[in-house]
Amino acid sequence: MIRVVLPTHLRTLTSGEREVQLEVPGVATQRSVLDALEARYPVLQGTIRDPITQKRRAFVRFFACEEDLSHQSPDAPLPDAVATGAEPFFVIGAMAGG
């Protein structure tokens, strides 16, 4: 079981819950987690990744285990703590403003 924490804007599109729990088949990677997330909530398609290129949107970041994983390959295995559900996978909207 993978725990994904969504930013406030995206919670308004889903259940409203801060954290979503997902069963992810195979190796847990950014791609497989986001595929499972979008399968649960199709409304999120295009909000985290570009719908065509599947690239992370410019102002979205992925954090886990106190690390910024945003620039890792989408197919790189996520940390064991994320794969086991011990730690959540954070989808973050970059901070902006004054």
Binding site: P7, T8, H9, L10, T12, L13, V43, Q45, G46, T47, I48, P51, I52, R57, F59, V60, G93, A94
Partner: protein
Amino acid sequence: MSGVRVLVGTRKGAFVLSADAKRESWEVNGPYFAGWEMYHVKGSPADPNRIYASQSTGWFGQLIQRSNDGGATWEPVGNAFNYEGVPGTHQWYDGTPHPWEFARVWHLEPSLSDPDTVLAGVEDAALFRSTDGGQNWQELAGLRTQDNGPSWQPGAGGMCLHTIIVDPSNAERIFVAISAAGAFRSEDGGNSWRPVNRGLRSEGIPDEDAEVGHCVHRLAMHPSRPNVLYMQKHWDVMRTDNAGDSWQEISGDLPTDFGFAIDVHAHEPETVYVVPIKSDSEHFPLDGQLRVYRSRTAGNEWEPLTKGLPQQNCYVNVLRDAMAVDSLDSCGVYFGTTGGQLYASADAGDSWEPIVRDLPAVLSVEVQTLP
């Protein structure tokens, strides 16, 4: 009993304001989609319960929302706006070629006859159509792939297609306007297009009367006279009497002819409203006085409408899609400001009252006149 529903898009959500035909007591519902930029919310003329809304943020992209119950509940529909073929390039601010990139939907124009058909004007400028209630979107690529397309350049707010007008007497004829490319007309339902900018003069471009490159802010049409269009350009208020083949300036005695919004009275095709803004560098009313100007002569002669509007210390803006009219017997006129006020007049502009004063910055205002 008849009434009106005002659909308001703001920087931080959408609001639905409702009143009976007296337009004295208002119910304010919202925010819907709180925290999201709502560039446009518009109802179907064919089914007033069907409403489309453009929801976006710079972080999380574009969604389209649809309501089938007059805005009480909403469901997300399709948000894939894919340019047809290899998109190519347009001009960037510095004159270099820049790839066409989808940013957001500025304007949604539901069909006059089919609630499931809707056009979308987007940034970077292109026109899309859905015929299944917004689930799937196809580009009408003939607009963007004109010979002059690669020369289009964004205005300061982005290269947006912000105005779509379908001729009510001929659904094959469509007008659009793009900042900063100009006005365009199709005679075949949107498949092919040509610029209709003859008569426009813009000091901010190298060739003042170029075929394209004009920063058109807004077009308006009265449905009974589909060959007559009014235009608020960056500077200059303009009119065409021949569907855009040629334009003449009608700024007349306006104190400044910069502005964004323009609209036409519901029952008087020669009565036009604008909100003059001081200048392109000072986006607020002249002298801190918020004044709508009305012409009853299709332009040139304008009267200030001030009753009920702040006449001192007012420094808000009124954006291009933030003015609309209802079609009750006594025409109602509505506009929203970047300060969050939504002003309404139930007497064609003679007097104004705020429906609500403290919304987020208003991006768009549309009105549905309900049976």
